[in-house]
């Protein structure tokens, strides 16, 4: 398993090949400095209590909204300024996606992990720009992609000289306006040798099911979290908001902050059990021919 080293001042940890589950969390979109600081503090307190190392995630530009009237984001300059403040204040790593190759360098100067959006996961110009930041890259599996075809995206990033990759599953299209979660995708993507992440909040999305916005079934978040942790993921991804009804992005899928501690407790418990079982019985398990 390839390892990704993350370091912010004295806060240092490894993603991949380590037993502890890591978390990427935050509001889908950066709404304001105050809101980002508030959310970071709340999540940080819960993560400290549960001894979970985490990365603050919030995006400065939402380029894949269903409607031109939807909130598009605070923009790269303001967004990165806010992320940098969060990073410095709480000494936690930060991440954002980017949807224009021109934004990669600037994003990489602030963010500890660069996220490649699912819709753009096979876009060579985006993957090249991400790779050239020399920062770890979290590639989200497109809802239209098979898990094994993500290897092509991995090879593109490697081709451009970057071998710090995380692969994230966020659901797979099942007909129109509907996603399903195939938990097999996690061990399949892990065969690339890179750490894998499960995005439990976008996974419950029903893309553009409500005319000009996406719907979702947030009641399934805890079930998917538990199931994914049992497969042995390295990172859990959750979009969290203190007031989902008024969230400026993905209001139908974000996890209500009031449930975060319980969801993370369950996730950690199952993840630790999975690690203990792996220690007890070894990593080798059933193979097709065995």
């Amino acid at each position: 398993m390839k390892q990704i080293k993350i370091k912010v001042k004295n806060n240092e940890f490894i993603i991949g090949g380590s037993k502890d589950l890591k978390l990427i969390a935050g509001p889908c979109a950066i709404e304001s400095l105050d809101h980002s600081m508030f959310m970071a503090e709340k999540i940080n307190n819960i993560c400290n209590k549960l001894s979970i190392k985490w990365i603050f995630k919030s995006c400065y530009d939402k380029d894949c909204r269903s409607s031109p009237d939807s909130f598009h984001g605070v923009g790269i300059t303001e967004g990165l300024r806010i992320l940098e403040k969060v990073r410095n204040e709480f000494e936690i790593p930060v991440t954002s996606d980017f949807s224009d190759p021109m934004w990669a360098k600037e994003t990489g100067e602030v963010c500890d992990i660069i996220q490649v959006p699912a819709y753009l996961c096979r876009q060579t110009s985006i993957l090249k720009a991400a790779a050239e930041t020399n920062k770890p890259i979290n590639i989200k599996k497109g809802q239209f992609m098979s898990p094994w075809n993500m290897k092509n995206s991995v090879k593109k990033v490697e081709y451009y000289g970057n071998e710090q990759i995380i692969l994230t599953d966020r659901g797979t299209f099942f007909g129109y306006n509907m996603l399903v979660n195939d938990m097999r995708s996690l061990p399949i993507m892990r065969e690339t040798g890179y750490p894998v992440c499960f995005d439990a909040t976008h996974s419950v999305q029903q893309p553009t099911s409500m005319g000009n916005i996406s719907g979702g079934q947030r009641e399934f978040i805890p079930h998917l979290v538990r199931a994914s942790c049992a497969t042995g993921i390295d990172v859990l991804f959750l979009e969290v908001h203190d007031n989902p009804k008024n969230a400026l992005s993905d209001k139908n899928t974000v996890l209500d902050l009031k449930f975060l501690e319980r969801v993370l407790s369950e996730a950690k418990s199952i993840s630790d059990t999975q690690s203990d079982l792996e220690d007890k019985y070894g990593k080798e398990y059933i193979k097709h021919d065995s």
Binding site: S146, W148, D289
Partner: protein, 147 residues
Amino acid sequence: MEKSILNMTLENLVVKNCMINIGYFPVVKFNQILKEAVDYMDEYKLGIISIVDNNFKLLGVITDGDLRRAILRSQKPLSAMLVDDVIDYSIKNPLVISEDDLLIDSIKLMNEKQIWDLPVLNKNKELIGLLHLHSAIKNYIEKNDVR
């Protein structure tokens, strides 16, 4: 090459005079995907592909038969197999011959093992050619004046 063959007797005809040289048979790097390997095999119209490391050391081979068996054995969708690393489907430590081996011995070996091809290595164990049964037999027939 033809001139040197004419000057040799059947008994001392060696592999390097009859083998297919690099560039004329399919070879892939270990970390290429299976789809690329199948493409090369099809392009060169040969039922074997050699898999090498970055220094051209032979790591394994895949034959048409290995592909048949892999397809029958694997329960993966074909699209998932095709994106796997080629090395995952290779036969490691295949039978090989040296460039200086006698052609007749290599033909006997192919007959004994019922195989069509033998990778040819130089003294440094680097892949330098492929002995294919048809070209080997052609040379043998020509030298033996079989009508």
